[in-house]
C-alpha cells in the first residue's frame, strides 16, 4: 500500500481548486511545516506549492499483451490503467479503475484485464477489445493481486487484510470460497502449465510461540501453492527468517522459479548496521532445476539490492531480473552461474555478501522506486515501472543498459509529498545504501516484526514496529514517548540509529515528515456503514467507555480504556506504566498507543509480546493495570475486541 490514496483523492479534488485557492493552501502548509521545525527551520516555503495536489501516475505494475503490441501500465495514484503502444509508447487509452489499484493480470487469451482495487475492495474487469470497464465486482478486503485459471472458470484474488485467496466464478464474479493464505496475502502467479498458483504475502505469519523476550523467533513466511483445478491449497513452501515476500516468477518450462523477499535481521541490534546490515535482500529459487528451495543473496558489500520486488525470467531462462525499489536498480542474474553456484556450495549462504558476485552480472540503475517489470516475448526488452518518478525504463537486455525512458503524462513539478515519498522509499541515505524507511514500513505501513533498535545491548528494549498510517497528531513518538515530534523521530533518531550515515538535509527531512504526516488510515473493514455497529461492537464500546466494573466498583479514571485511548486516534498522548515492563526493559513507562487500524497490526504491546489482541488481557494484564478487564467474562472480552477492531 503506497498510502497515497489521500494524495490521489486530493489530486482529483485539485482539478476543482482555483489557482488562488491552491496557492492559499500552499502558503498555509508552508507556515505549518515551518512551525513543525522550531529548532531546525527549513526553507519549506520554497518546496511547498500547488504541486502538493498533483495527480501523479505512480506506475506500479506492467503487462504486455499476448501479441506484444500493447503495454498496460497500472497507475496506482491516478487510479487508472494506461494502455500504451508497446513500440511507439503512444497512449492508446487511459481507463479509470477503482481506488488505489494494486495488481492486475490478463486472462489467458488476453481478452480481459482484471484489476484489483485495494482500497474499495473491488475488481475491475476490462474488455481489452473495447478498452472499457465491462464489470466491477465486489471482492474481499484489500484485494491485491488476481489471476484467472487457464479454462476461464475461476479467478483467484489475494486479499491483503483478510489474509486469504478468494476463489471467484470468472464469469459472474460470485465468490465460491476463500483459501487460507499467508498474512498480508498480496501477490499471485499462475504456473506456465496453469496447474498451480503461487501466492506470497508481505507480513510474516503469526509465530507459534509468544514473541516476547527469551522466546523471540525468526519470522516465518510461505509460498502458498494452490491446485488450480481443485482450488485448494496443496502445499506451503516455508520461507524461514523471511518477512516481506513479493513477486514470484516462473520460467517458461516451470523448472526454474524465483521469489523476491526481505530477510530481516531483527533478532540482533539494528544499531549495528555497519557490522553486517539490517536486512538481506534475497531471492528464494526453487523448481526442478534447483532441487530443494535455496535462498540466495542479491546484496554485495557496498552494492546492496534493497527492497527487491518484481522478478522476471528470460524466455530461455538464461537471466533473472529483479527490481530493487530501494536501490533504484534492476539486478541481473546469470541463471546458469546461479545454478552452478547453488549446486557447488552447500547452504546456508543467504548472508554471504561475497556470494552474489558469482551470479549477479549487472546492476542497472533505473528510476525512483522501480516496481513491476515486463519482458518482451523475445526477451530483448525489459520494461520497468519507476513508481515515484512516473517513468518506464526500457532496458536493452543485450547491453544491460537503459535504452530509453518513457515519461508518463502527468505533472512536471515534483511536490513536497512526492519528494517525501521518494525519500521514504529510497535506500540511498543509509550506510552503504542498505535500507530505507520502507524496508521496515512496507508500503508505508509496518512489517509485523519486533526489533532491537538502540545500542543498549543485545535483547534490551525490544520494540514492536508501528503502523505509520494516522501517525499525524499522535506525538510524542517512540514507544516510550522519547521523541517529541516527527522531525526528531525521522531525523536525528533515524540517522543516528538506523542509517548510521549521512544526515538528511533540512529540505529532505521536511519532505519526509510532510509525507509521513500525510499517511491516512485505510478504510476500516470492520466498520459498518455510517455510525451503525453490530450488537457485539456496541457491547464492546460500552465496556470501553465504562467507569464502573461488574461488581459496581468505580474504575479509576486512569484505568479506564477510554481515558488513555481517548480521542479520534485512541491515544491521549500521555505516558503510563501499564504493568507490561519486562526484565529486559529499561523502563515500564510507555506512551499510550494509538488504536489506528489496531485489527491489522499484530503483534501487540511495546515489545510485540502479545501475538493477538486477546493476549494483551488474557496473558499480560494479570493485575488490571492495563485497564480493568479481569472482571470480564470471555464473551465480554470478545465484545471489547470486536469494538476495538472498528478503530
Amino acid at each position: 500500500m503506497s498510502g497515497r490514496n489521500q494524495a490521489g483523492m486530493r489530486a482529483k479534488r485539485a482539478a476543482e481548486l482555483t489557482p488562488l485557492a491552491a496557492a492559499s493552501r500552499a502558503v498555509a502548509l508552508a507556515f505549518f511545516v515551518i512551525a513543525l521545525f522550531p529548532g531546525r527551520i527549513v526553507r519549506a516555503d520554497e518546496h511547498v506549492n500547488a504541486a502538493e495536489d498533483m495527480n501523479y501516475a505512480s506506475p506500479l505494475e506492467l503487462l504486455l499483451s499476448p501479441n506484444g503490441a500493447r503495454l498496460y501500465v497500472l497507475c496506482q495514484q491516478s487510479e487508472e490503467v494506461r494502455v500504451l503502444d508497446a513500440a511507439s509508447f503512444a497512449v492508446i487509452k487511459n481507463i479509470a479503475v477503482g481506488r488505489v489499484p494494486r495488481g492486475f493480470s490478463l486472462s489467458p487469451d488476453g481478452a480481459r484485464l482484471f484489476v484489483t482495487n485495494s482500497w474499495d475492495d473491488t475488481l475491475s474487469v476490462i474488455d481489452t477489445g473495447t478498452l472499457a470497464v465491462a464489470a466491477t465486482w465486489p471482492v474481499g478486503a484489500e484485494p491485491s493481486s488476481v489471476v484467472e485459471d487457464r479454462g476461464g472458470k475461476r479467478l483467484f484474488v489475494a486479499n491483503r487484510i483478510s489474509n486469504d485467496v478468494a476463489v471467484l466464478d470468472a464469469q459472474t464474479g460470485v465468490e465460491e470460497k476463500r483459501l487460507l493464505a499467508g498474512r498480508g496475502s498480496s501477490y499471485l502467479t499462475l504456473s506456465p502449465d496453469g496447474s498451480r498458483i503461487y501466492g506470497t504475502h508481505i507480513y510474516p505469519n503469526p509465530p507459534r510461540v509468544r514473541t516476547g523476550l527469551d522466546n523471540r523467533t525468526a519470522p516465518e513466511s510461505e509460498i502458498t501453492v494452490i491446485d488450480t483445478a481443485r482450488a485448494v491449497v496443496v502445499d506451503r513452501m516455508p520461507l524461514h527468517a523471511i518477512a516481506g515476500v513479493f513477486h514470484v516468477a516462473l520460467s517458461a518450462d516451470g523448472r526454474l522459479d524465483a521469489v523476491a523477499e526481505y530477510h530481516p535481521k531483527n533478532l540482533v541490534p539494528l544499531a549495528h548496521l555497519e557490522h553486517g546490515g539490517a536486512f538481506e535482500d534475497t531471492l528464494t529459487v526453487f523448481g526442478a532445476d534447483v532441487g530443494k528451495p535455496v535462498e540466495v543473496p542479491l546484496d554485495e558489500l557496498e552494492r546492496y539490492a534493497a527492497m527487491p520486488f518484481g522478478v522476471a525470467i528470460a524466455p530461455d531462462k538464461s537471466l533473472i531480473y529483479v527490481t530493487c525499489g530501494g536501490s533504484e536498480m534492476v539486478t541481473v542474474i546469470d541463471a546458469a552461474r546461479l545454478l552452478h553456484f547453488i549446486h557447488a556450495h552447500p547452504e546456508p549462504f543467504a548472508r554471504d555478501l561475497s556470494a552474489s558476485a558469482n551470479y549477479v552480472v549487472a546492476r542497472i540503475p533505473v528510476g525512483r522506486n522501480p516496481r513491476g517489470l515486463a519482458l518482451t516475448r523475445d526477451g530483448r526488452r525489459l520494461f520497468v515501472a519507476n513508481r515515484l518518478d512516473d517513468t518506464i525504463s526500457v532496458i536493452d537486455t543485450r547491453s544491460d543498459r537503459v535504452a530509453s525512458t518513457i515519461q508518463l503524462a502527468g505533472p512536471k513539478t515534483v511536490s513536497v509529498l512526492r519528494r517525501g515519498e521518494q525519500t521514504f522509499y529510497t535506500a540511498r541515505y543509509s550506510f552503504q545504501g542498505q535500507i530505507g524507511c520502507a524496508s521496515c514500513h512496507i508500503d508505508s505501513t509496518f512489517d509485523g516484526l519486533t526489533w532491537d533498535l538502540e545500542p543498549d545491548g543485545f535483547g534490551r528494549d525490544i520494540v514492536d514496529n508501528k503502523m505509520l498510517e494516522g501517525v499525524k497528531g499522535t506525538e510524542p513518538y517512540k514507544w516510550n514517548g522519547g521523541n517529541p515530534n516527527l522531525p526528531t523521530e525521522c531525523g536525528p533518531r533515524t540517522e543516528k540509529y538506523f542509517w548510521r550515515s549521512e544526515q538528511f538535509d533540512d529540505l529532505t527531512l521536511t519532505d519526509l515528515v510532510v509525507y509521513v504526516r500525510s499517511l491516512q488510515p485505510r478504510p476500516n473493514r470492520w466498520k459498518l456503514p455510517g455510525r451503525e455497529m453490530t450488537p457485539a461492537q456496541e457491547r464492546g464500546q460500552a465496556l470501553f467507555t465504562r467507569d464502573v466494573d461488574k461488581f459496581g466498583k468505580p474504575i479509576p479514571e486512569t484505568n479506564r480504556c477510554s481515558y488513555c485511548h481517548s480521542g479520534p486516534k485512541g491515544t491521549n498522548q500521555k505516558i503510563f506504566d501499564v504493568g507490561t515492563q519486562k526484565p529486559t526493559d529499561n523502563s515500564g513507562l510507555l506512551k499510550s498507543a494509538p488504536l489506528t487500524a489496531i485489527a491489522l497490526t499484530a503483534p501487540y504491546l511495546h515489545d510485540g509480546s502479545a501475538r493477538t489482541l486477546e493476549e494483551i488481557w488474557t496473558v499480560y494484564n494479570p493485575e488490571d493495570r492495563h485497564g480493568r478487564t479481569n472482571d470480564l467474562t470471555k464473551d465480554e472480552l470478545n465484545d471489547l475486541i470486536e469494538y476495538l477492531r472498528t478503530r
Binding site: R178, L180, R230, V232, E614, T618, D635
Partner: protein, 366 residues
C-alpha cells in the same frame, strides 16, 4: 359404536397405522442376515505407524485418513502414517475431534488445549488465551460454510473464518443449563449441540434462535415413556442428516424427525450398550452407533453389531431382526476394540476410532 370401547378403537387404529411398517419389518427381518453389510476390518496400531492406540476421532478426506489420537494427529496417506504434534503447531497432543472443510480441504482439530486448523500442511492454533475460543477443551467441531462451530467444556462457540469474529453461546444467551458441550453437528439449516446434562440444543440458522430438547423424565435413569422425548440429558454426540436428528447419550440413543422421537435401548433394540459415545447418521433411516460394547449399525429395522466378542475376544458379528431374533454371522475380523469413539465413512467402507487402535472396515461383496 356406543358399546365399542375406546381403547379397542385406538388399538385397531394403531395397528392399522403401523401395519405397513410391520409388513416391511417382517420382510426385512427375514432378509436381515443377508442384507446387512459385512466388513473385513484392517486394524492400525502403533505397530504399523499409528501415533497412539487411543484413538478419539477419525476423519475421511478422500483417500486420506486423519486420526485424532492421545499422542498426536495422524495422517494416513499412500500407505504411510505421518504424525503431527505440538512441535508442528498442534494445540495439544490429544486430539479429541476432527472436522473437514470440504470446500477448502482444511482440517479442524479439537484438542485438549485448543483448536487447530490444518491447512496445506500449516497448523494454526486458537486457544482461550490467544483468541475468542471459549475454552481450550474442544470436544467437537463441525464446519458449515464459512462458520466453524465448536463444542467446548465451557460452552459453544462459532468462528467466522471470513471475518475472524467469535460468537460465544452459553447459559447467558441460550437455554443451556450446563455449559459442558460435548458434540456438534452443523448444517446449512440447523446446528445441533450435544450438551452434557442439558440435552440437545438446536440453533436455527435462518432465525438465529435457540431451542432445547430435554429428557421429559428429567435426569432419572428411568424411562417412564420411552418415545416421549430425548432419551436422556447426558448427550454425548449428535448427527443431523436428511432432516433427522440422531442423538447419542450414556443411557441410550434417540432419533428425532422434527415431530416424533424414537429411542433405542439395549432392552428393545439391537444397540449393544446404552453407553453410547458417538453416533453418525447415514441418512434419515440408517445410522451407526459407537458404544462401550461395540460398533452397531441400524438400517431402520435391523441391527448389526461388530466387535471382538465380549466373552473371548474373537471377531464377532451379530444381526438382530425386527422381531428381536439375533443371528450370529461368521466373520474373521472385527474392529480393534469394543470401546468406539469415532466413526466416518469412505464410500462403502467405514473407519472406526477405538480405545485400542483405528479400524478400517472394508465392505465385502455379498
Amino acid at each position: 359404536m356406543k358399546n365399542f370401547p375406546l381403547h379397542c378403537f385406538l388399538t385397531i387404529a394403531a395397528l392399522l397405522a403401523v401395519a405397513p411398517q410391520m409388513l416391511q419389518a417382517a420382510s426385512a427381518a427375514s432378509a436381515a442376515p443377508q442384507v446387512l453389510p459385512r466388513y473385513r476390518f484392517e486394524n492400525f496400531t502403533t505397530a504399523n505407524g499409528l501415533p497412539d492406540n487411543h484413538v478419539y476421532s477419525v476423519l475421511v478426506d478422500g483417500d486420506r485418513i486423519w486420526a485424532g489420537t492421545e499422542n498426536g494427529l495422524g495422517l494416513y496417506e499412500n500407505g504411510k502414517w505421518t504424525t503431527y504434534t505440538t512441535k508442528d503447531g498442534l494445540a495439544h497432543r490429544a486430539v479429541l475431534s476432527l472436522a473437514l472443510d470440504k470446500r477448502t480441504g482444511d482440517v479442524w482439530a479439537g484438542t485438549m488445549a485448543g483448536l487447530s486448523r490444518v491447512s496445506g500442511g500449516r497448523i494454526d492454533t486458537y486457544t482461550q488465551l490467544n483468541s475468542g475460543l471459549s475454552n481450550d477443551v474442544v470436544y467437537s467441531v463441525s464446519v458449515e460454510g464459512e462458520n466453524v462451530w465448536v463444542a467446548t467444556a465451557a460452552g459453544a462457540c462459532r468462528l467466522n473464518i471470513r471475518t475472524g469474529q467469535w460468537t460465544l453461546y452459553n447459559e447467558r444467551n441460550t437455554p443451556m443449563i450446563e455449559i459442558w458441550t460435548y458434540g456438534v453437528s452443523a448444517t446449512p439449516t440447523k446446528v445441533y449441540y450435544a450438551v452434557w446434562g442439558s440435552g440437545v440444543l438446536e440453533y436455527t440458522q435462518e432465525t438465529g434462535r435457540w431451542d432445547k430438547y430435554e429428557d421429559p423424565d428429567g435426569e432419572n435413569e428411568i424411562v417412564l415413556f420411552k418415545d416421549q422425548g430425548l432419551i436422556h440429558e447426558i448427550v454425548t454426540s449428535v448427527s443431523y442428516v436428511d432432516n433427522i436428528l440422531w442423538a447419542a447419550t450414556y443411557f441410550g440413543a434417540s432419533r428425532y424427525d422434527g415431530r416424533y422421537w424414537h429411542n433405542f435401548l439395549t432392552k428393545d433394540s439391537g444397540l449393544p450398550s446404552n453407553f453410547t459415545n458417538t453416533i453418525k447418521g447415514v441418512d434419515a433411516k440408517r445410522a451407526w452407533f459407537g458404544t462401550d460394547k461395540g460398533l452397531a449399525y441400524y438400517d431402520g429395522v435391523n441391527w448389526a453389531v461388530y466387535r471382538p466378542s465380549l466373552k473371548d475376544g474373537k471377531p464377532e458379528m451379530t444381526v438382530r431382526d425386527a422381531e428381536g431374533k439375533v443371528t450370529p454371522i461368521a466373520v474373521t475380523t472385527a474392529p480393534a476394540h469394543n470401546y468406539v469413539l469415532g466413526i466416518d465413512f469412505q464410500g462403502d467402507d467405514i473407519w472406526v476410532a477405538t480405545a485400542k487402535g483405528l479400524s478400517h472396515g472394508i465392505r465385502q461383496k455379498q
